[in-house]
């Protein structure tokens, strides 16, 4: 059975394509892209997409699937369903599970479970150090063979600069990227929100932008010295953007991502002590948000990733201090990012690059382009459809969204992975 996507506006930045095209999918692959394709009656399912936008499948290089260990927050299945509903055809999942993904066994388990779910491509990111304890390097080679595409101690930053140096060097010899969570734990100790005017008002212990920037500075120096590829996770501050911009100008092999909440929200939202807004790194000041947006515009920030961090109500509906950090982001990321296009900050094509081609390239995984012969990983969204964010209706188990009740424009209409419809609005 073949599928014919007919009459949609096809946007593929890899080929500077932005026009109405038909796409024929056969045996899971893109068979043809042309101005007009007629399907064989009876054998082709025709999907009319007038007014819809067709993209290379979105790639989220920073997701938490929580399985194994925290299945009450999310599972590989529920997270994959959420990804499909959010328009993502590939996701990379962080290693802070229980047990930590620091071994072939855990990586293989994730790959196997994802295969059983058979929804979106799931690429494990493995731990830099055993148990993410920052002491002993994990078996990168073995992990790579098992399917790991990058290394990170997300949530448990590597404080030992010597270990970080070795991790960068060792990963580079395998051709894989290190994607650190940059936070100096001494500077952030005890902190609950961005340190600044609002934390002073609220009397909440602060996490200074400095905690992020000191570590980014270190990791940029290490990347420069070793020549190893570095991808900086969830950039949140103006100083970080500035340093990464300068580093790129000097030719350091660095890429960087931010998440929708950092270009959408600020620490002013914390005035009600609502734990939905608690996230790490924390929401920063309006000046930081402005710099993040500028970094996206000028290309300093290569990728928009969700940092999808699902939590159960029992983790969030407690005192602010005790609440878990994180935002469930897979099902709002595209619509929030489309606001950047609405605001004139990015063209749709540039946005798609940051949510598809760039992350695929950094992780060296397939995807990011609509090419005949490639897997038919395709995202279709309705640009005019307004919708109200209601996490209770989500596929993700994590209902922890600060965007509850927001009206957003642009809704995923259909997601195809290897030519199979894994999500559809109908």
């Amino acid at each position: 059975m073949s599928i014919l996507l007919k009459g949609g506006r096809v946007v593929d930045p890899s080929r500077n394509l932005d026009s109405v095209k038909d796409i024929l999918i056969e045996e899971g692959k893109i068979a043809a892209i042309a101005d007009s394709i007629e399907g064989t009656a009876g054998e082709t399912r025709v999907v009319r997409l007038e007014g819809k936008v067709v993209l290379p499948g979105l790639v989220d290089m920073h997701t938490h699937l929580r399985e194994p260990g925290y299945e009450y927050k999310e599972t590989i299945r529920s997270g994959s369903e959420a990804a499909a509903a959010g328009g993502f055809t590939s996701i990379a999942c962080m290693p802070n599970t229980d047990p930590v993904n620091d071994s072939r066994a855990v990586t293989e388990y994730i790959v196997k479970r994802a295969g059983e779910c058979n929804l979106v491509h799931v690429y494990p990111v493995a731990a830099i150090s055993l148990k993410s304890e920052g002491r002993t390097l994990a078996e990168f080679g073995d992990l790579k063979e098992a399917g790991a595409v990058a290394f990170s101690d997300d949530g448990k930053p590597v404080m030992d600069s010597g270990l970080m140096r070795r991790a960068l060097e060792y990963a580079s010899s395998l051709g894989l990227v290190i994607t650190p969570h940059c936070e100096d734990l001494y500077l952030s100790a005890g902190g609950l929100m961005n340190e600044g005017r609002i934390s002073t008002e609220l009397g909440l212990p602060g996490i200074p932008t400095l905690a992020e920037e000191v570590m980014i500075a270190r990791d940029l120096l290490l990347a420069e010295y070793t020549g190893a590829a570095l991808h900086i996770s969830h950039v949140s501050s103006a100083g970080s953007v500035r340093m990464i911009r300068d580093a790129k100008a000097r030719g350091i092999p660095v890429t960087a991502e931010t998440a929708p909440h950092y270009f959408t929200l600020t620490d002013e939202t914390l005035r009600d002590f609502d734990p939905s807004f608690k996230v790490n790194p924390p929401l920063r000041s309006p000046l930081d948000r402005k710099a993040i947006r500028e970094g996206l515009r000028d290309g300093t920030l290569d990728v928009i990733a969700t940092d999808h961090a699902p939590h159960a109500a029992t983790d969030k509906e407690v005192e602010f201090e005790y609440a878990a950090s994180g935002i469930s982001g897979l099902e709002t990321a595209l619509a929030l990012s489309l606001r950047l296009v609405e605001d004139g900050l990015l063209t749709l094509s540039e946005l798609v690059r940051k949510m598809s081609a760039n992350p695929a390239k950094i992780l060296n995984i397939p995807g990011g382009a609509l090419l005949p012969g490639a897997d038919a990983d395709i995202t279709v969204f309705d640009p005019d459809r307004s919708w109200v964010v209601d996490p209770l209706s989500w596929r993700s188990k994590g209902k922890n969204s600060p965007f509850f009740g927001w009206t957003l424009k642009g809704k995923v209409f259909m997601t195809l992975v290897k030519g199979r419809i894994v999500y559809s609005e109908d």
């Binding site: 002073t200 002590f273 407690v318 602010f320 201090e321």
Partner: protein, 307 residues
């Protein structure tokens, strides 16, 4: 002016008129505590729960006395005796308290924002008796009452607050309140005790006690939390007291009729020398007396407002 709020969560949200209303109401209750029979029937049949999820003796006692002098039934629950130690969440405890139909819940909690969470969860009036390092509104109100009684006004006074501003809910509530009432504020202490962008809250910052005391009408000394020493907020108590202890010498820089205040409990010889704590300028015990009147006023206003 009529009181319309369900809760008292902080001073930041109050208007100057609301603060004046509380202080005026407190004045009228001051006299009750001087009677032979210290009880009025105002809140007979009302139930007040003092829910203290952080150790406190004087604030809890003050609220309890305030409730009892108004003839309310007051019940104290503290963290060590409550179900919180058994792992019950704040929201479950809140729902249980609500189900027993009290009229007011007074909460002290080590987490900033806990009273706000409680206020969202239950229909009863909530009074914040101190939340983390956020606010301690009744302390600021009793401080303002004490100053107003002595000076006749709050407007135009030079008020200096000395100590660990970053970690003080007393300082925050007083900064909010005194600013609204037109006082001129200076905060003093080493830079490690100054929260980020504190000037944005409308205060002058001084790192030298002598400078901060110049022409002060009121000086509030904050209690030093000795556990901060371990986090390098200051090197040692010895050094702190050498530079920031209010004593007979440096107080000369302040106005002659300066009021010396302290929220208690006092570390004698650390933030304030004994002769100053007990001296003619000290109003520390008046603060405690006024605390009962302010809390009576709030219980009265809040229970009246929800009828």
């Amino acid at each position: 002016m009529k009181w319309e709020r369900k809760d008292l969560l902080g001073i930041k949200d109050l208007s100057g008129e609301e603060i004046s209303l509380i202080l005026d109401t407190a004045e009228s209750f001051l006299e009750v505590s001087t009677r032979d029979i210290k009880k009025v029937p105002t809140l007979r049949g009302k139930t007040i729960i003092n829910f203290f999820v952080e150790a406190s003796t004087r604030t809890r006692t003050s609220f309890e006395i305030a409730g009892k002098r108004l003839s309310a039934d007051t019940i104290n629950i503290s963290a060590s005796t409550s179900s919180l130690v058994k792992g019950e969440t704040l929201s479950d405890t809140a729902k249980n308290l609500e189900a027993m139909n009290p009229d007011v819940i007074v909460i002290r909690h080590s987490c900033a924002g806990a009273p706000h969470m409680l206020a969202r969860l239950v229909r009863q009036s909530i009074i914040n008796a101190g939340d983390g390092t956020h606010e301690h509104p009744t302390q600021a109100l009793l401080d303002m009452m004490t100053i107003r009684n002595r000076k006749g006004t709050l407007s135009g006074l030079n008020v200096t607050i000395v100590g660990d501003i970053a970690h003080s809910r007393v300082a925050r509530s007083n900064i909010y309140g005194l600013n609204k009432m037109g006082a001129h504020l200076t905060v003093a202490g080493p830079a490690t005790m100054m929260p980020r962008e504190i000037r944005e809250l409308g205060v002058k910052v001084s790192f030298r006690l002598e400078e901060a005391l110049q022409d002060a009408d009121v000086v509030m000394m904050l209690r030093i939390q000795t556990e901060r020493e371990q986090r390098n907020i200051f090197p040692s108590l010895r050094e702190y007291s050498a530079f920031y202890c209010l004593n007979g010498d440096n107080i000369q820089r302040a106005r002659q009729d300066v009021l010396v205040m302290h929220p208690g409990p006092v570390n004698r010889g650390v933030e304030i020398s004994p002769e100053i704590a007990d001296g003619a300028n000290s109003v520390i015990l008046e603060q405690v007396t006024n605390g009962v009147a302010v809390r009576m006023a709030l219980l009265y206003l809040l229970t009246g407002a929800i009828e």
